[in-house]
């Protein structure tokens, strides 16, 4: 059994590579069924995503190059497993959202309830809380007067 789990050259540990729909579907299969061969991945893909074996082989190869899959040779075939967990990938994805919000590149497509980029300090938050409490007290006092 030959392991090929070293990070490939150029694979960044934090930056999330751009993934296509088939690539995401493959990752999903490998999170559920680690150590799967190409044929097994193909069989476990949803019907709508089931591609030819050669397309799937290149997708797995691409994901391996991106550093998201590790593989081990067993007899004639490779067994693939995800090198990042689902939550880690999601964390990186949200990290990507945040960094893109910092440089403003997501502004035209994303409206966030509270701007991730706005790292407001505790004293300001405390002050705003006091302001809100004062407003609530004034509202309640007004309600009692009525």
């Amino acid at each position: 059994m030959t392991g090929e789990n070293r990070p490939p050259p150029g694979a960044s540990s934090n930056a999330l590579p751009r993934l296509g729909e088939l690539e995401l579907a493959v990752m999903e299969v490998l999170w559920r069924h680690p150590a799967s061969s190409t044929q097994q991945v193909q069989a476990r893909l949803p019907q709508a995503r089931r591609n030819s074996l050669s397309t799937l082989q290149s997708t797995l190869e691409r994901l391996h190059r991106k550093g998201l899959l590790g593989r081990e040779r067993e007899r004639q075939a490779y067994l693939y497993r995800a090198r990042v967990s689902r939550s880690e990938l999601l964390g990186r994805l949200l990290g990507g959202v945040i960094s893109q919000l910092h440089d403003g590149s997501l502004d035209p497509i994303l409206a966030s309830f509270v701007d991730f980029a706005e790292n407001i300090d505790d004293s300001t938050l405390d002050r705003l809380d006091e302001l809100l409490q004062a407003r609530l007290r004034a509202r309640d006092a007004g309600g009692c007067d009525d």
Partner: protein, 306 residues
């Protein structure tokens, strides 16, 4: 005919650029008054202000090169014995047009490549990971976050961490806020604003674009305050701000911002007055008069260009 078309195209591009620069430079004079208005109305005014250079350019081009405009608005004059109505011609417009159009095309391609396309890819990835939860999509992530992503069919995304750590009332306020973004197509409006500001260097247009984003947030807060209460929306804002501060995601850096402060203050203070619709009509009439008055001098100016 070809020379007239090339001149019209070049004039339009140059005029758009000049008007966009002038409007961006004049914005600080209007900014304080604009931000004191009702946020939904101020957002509309600001978008109209950003569109003014392009709309003004289209109007001016039609009047400069249309026969009716030349007949009614340009004083009679002759060129080499020819005294018929005419549009102002630019010599060598064809040659000059190429670099100008290339510059516009480069800016557009750059916008798509660096800003819009990654947004599409991101939306696709998030949809793959998310699970429907009523009107929103829940993403199983450890960072508390809520946002609306997309233009034509924007989707509301909430992370599991946010749903676990907020009360139902806070989640309802957040959803009401995001539903307002969805209903008003705020992301599409922001995209349009970015496209309209394309001729201006980003540093010059940044204040207008940031203010528009702030006005969208303030308007969505006001909308949410109708279904919750202003205090409940302000409370939800502070709650999420604290949660995001307590669990900063990997790669986040400290950033001094006052947007939350402004939004909370806007919610706990009395709402600003909305201008009556007659004001919008009066402003539009004023702009139209200015445009009509500018046609003759503009025609003469273009004809004096080398």
């Amino acid at each position: 005919m070809t020379e007239t078309l090339l001149s019209a195209a070049l004039c339009a591009l140059l005029l758009w650029w000049v008007l966009a620069l002038l409007c961006a430079a004049a914005y600080p004079l209007l900014r304080r008054r604009l931000l004191a208005l009702d946020p939904a109305q101020a957002g509309n005014f600001l978008l109209a202000y950003l569109a003014l250079p392009l709309l003004g350019t289209l109007g001016a081009s039609l009047l400069l090169y249309g026969s009716a405009g030349a007949l009614l608005l340009v004083s009679d004059h002759c060129h080499a014995g020819q005294c018929s109505d005419h549009g102002p011609l630019l010599r060598g417009a064809g040659l000059a047009l190429l670099p100008v159009m290339a510059w516009y095309a480069w800016r557009l391609v750059n916008c798509v490549r660096r800003q819009w396309w990654p947004g599409f890819a991101l939306a696709r990835q998030l949809r793959c990971f998310g699970q429907r939860r009523g009107a929103a999509i829940e993403i199983p992530a450890a960072q508390p976050a809520a946002f609306t992503l997309g233009w034509w069919h924007p989707r509301v995304y909430l992370t599991s961490a946010l749903l676990q750590r907020c009360t139902q009332n806070e989640v309802d306020c957040i959803l009401a806020h995001e539903a307002s973004h969805h209903r008003r197509r705020d992301n599409l409006r922001q995209l349009l604003a970015n496209a309209l500001a394309a001729p201006v260097p980003l540093q010059l247009a940044a204040t207008q674009l940031e203010d528009l984003a702030l006005l969208h947030e303030l308007a969505a807060d006001r909308d949410a305050a109708h279904s919750c209460t202003p205090e409940a929306v302000a409370g939800a804002l502070l709650r999420v701000a604290r949660l995001q501060r307590a669990a900063p995601p990997a790669g986040s850096v400290a950033f001094a911002g006052t947007r939350i402060e402004r939004r909370v203050r806007a919610l706990v203070e009395d709402p600003p007055p909305a201008l009556p619709p007659t004001w919008s009509l009066a402003i539009a009439a004023l702009v139209l008069c200015a445009l009509l008055a500018a046609i003759n001098p503009l025609h003469r100016l273009i004809e004096t260009l080398p």
